[in-house]
Chain length 227, copies 2
DNA sequence: CTCTGGCATGTTGTATACAAAATGCAACAG
DNA sequence: CTGTTGCATTTTGTATACAACATGCCAGAG
């Protein structure tokens, strides 16, 4: 699967800067709507404006930044509508991932997923939210990997990053959490019996639940005036 | 729907350059795999290297270029596998567009689509392939617009552009053409009766047929050694 | 003749200088 | 007091200069 055995990871300055900015945006250090001053940022990152501007272009392509002519770049501020749309598309992508996965999944894959599921149950039992999110992401990434469609994976990842900029890990109450864990169990079961249609439906419903939770959170934040 | 009444269309140099290069790539003037020399290209486009490099970043984000550190940019060369993957994702996206469209479509929309369908039938009857492709694109764009999901539209458009770089308008024989036109008729009918599931299935099958045609063409070109 | 090493050349990467546009403020007219 | 106009300042856009790296060729050793 891999290319050369000892690949020297060489990153260019624009890519490194973009990666750094990506993190800052997702963590919220660079708030939605914030305008990015080129000179200031370039000094903070320790690079000149030229590679920084290329980093801006990369992030604009990812949908994390918007660039206005002669007025610089600013962090995107996703509206509730945008979030809704994003999750709809995510649903379609994950649904496809599920359908493709059943055609290619091996028993070893299912073993791995069951192990991840066990980790998830543990995190759930211990009320360890960060661990839960980490395992959750691992499971969905794994499903995408099994699907074996690089274009799908890339599209999925990009959109996922964009939605993560919403920092939506807020509104997960006990009932929803229980349900989400149960859904994962069912999804792996559907994959194990190679039921693509069922898996697809589950993934879409799963996404829809997340969408609902995020939209509620956003509505609350809006009415409460939370920053 | 529009913003300000008299928007001054101001494009930056990088965007203009990217747009020009996009055309050159899709038309095949810049062949797949071709390496792009910055100095040379910047002179041909009449811009300096700095905005040209930003244009490269834009196009790399669109998936039309790949950039290798210290080794410049080159036009992507999609493999048959890539094409297959791309069409799979397109199917999921168009399927979603169909499902969303039925929830929002108006009778006026359907009238417009029927008019486009009539245009398509004319183009088909007159064996006017360019006109057919134009109308075809208009119909699919229209469906996306009705779906009313900007993120979906953007994702769809980007991927579509990427696939167009394959220049796959080759292998459309009479039987396939007839079938494609008939499928469009059925799709509009499904939309008219608001049958989202049926429309989705049709769109996916429609895409699958196109995918097959493209893969066959690519296989032929490969074995025939066509450049 | 073949392979390796080193150098010359070309090409990409980054920094900086200059040009153009936007922004904010202050002075002035109404 | 309000709104407008012009200027100073800041910020972005583009070009260019220089540095780092890659490539191709030639000489020389084996």
């Amino acid at each position: 699967m891999d290319g050369s055995p000892f690949p020297i990871v060489r990153s260019t300055l624009p890519e490194a800067a973009a990666e750094r900015l990506r993190t800052l945006i997702i963590e919220g250090t660079l708030a939605p709507g914030a305008r990015l001053n080129e000179r200031e940022l370039s000094e903070q990152l320790g690079v000149s404006r030229t590679p920084l501007r290329e980093a801006f272009r990369i992030l604009a392509g990812d949908g994390l930044l918007v660039q206005l002519p002669n007025r610089g770049a600013q962090v995107v501020a996703l509206s509730a509508e945008d979030a809704r749309h994003g999750f709809d598309v995510m649903g379609a992508l994950e649904g496809l991932a599920g359908e493709l996965a059943v055609t290619r999944v091996t028993d070893a894959d299912i073993e791995d997923l069951r192990a991840l599921q066990a980790e998830m149950e543990t995190a759930h039992a211990e009320r360890d939210l960060p661990a839960y999110y980490r395992v959750n992401r691992a499971i969905h990434d794994r499903l995408n990997a099994i699907a074996g469609n690089p274009i799908l994976t890339h599209t999925y990842r990009t959109l996922n990053t964009r939605l993560h900029a919403l920092r939506f890990r807020s509104n997960l109450n006990t009932a929803k959490w229980n349900q989400a864990v149960a859904e994962h169990r069912d999804m792996i079961a559907a994959l194990a019996v190679r039921d693509g249609a069922a898996l697809r439906d589950m993934l879409i419903r799963h996404l829809r639940a997340k969408q609902q939770a995020v939209l509620e959170t956003m509505k609350n934040e809006k009415t409460l005036g939370v920053v």
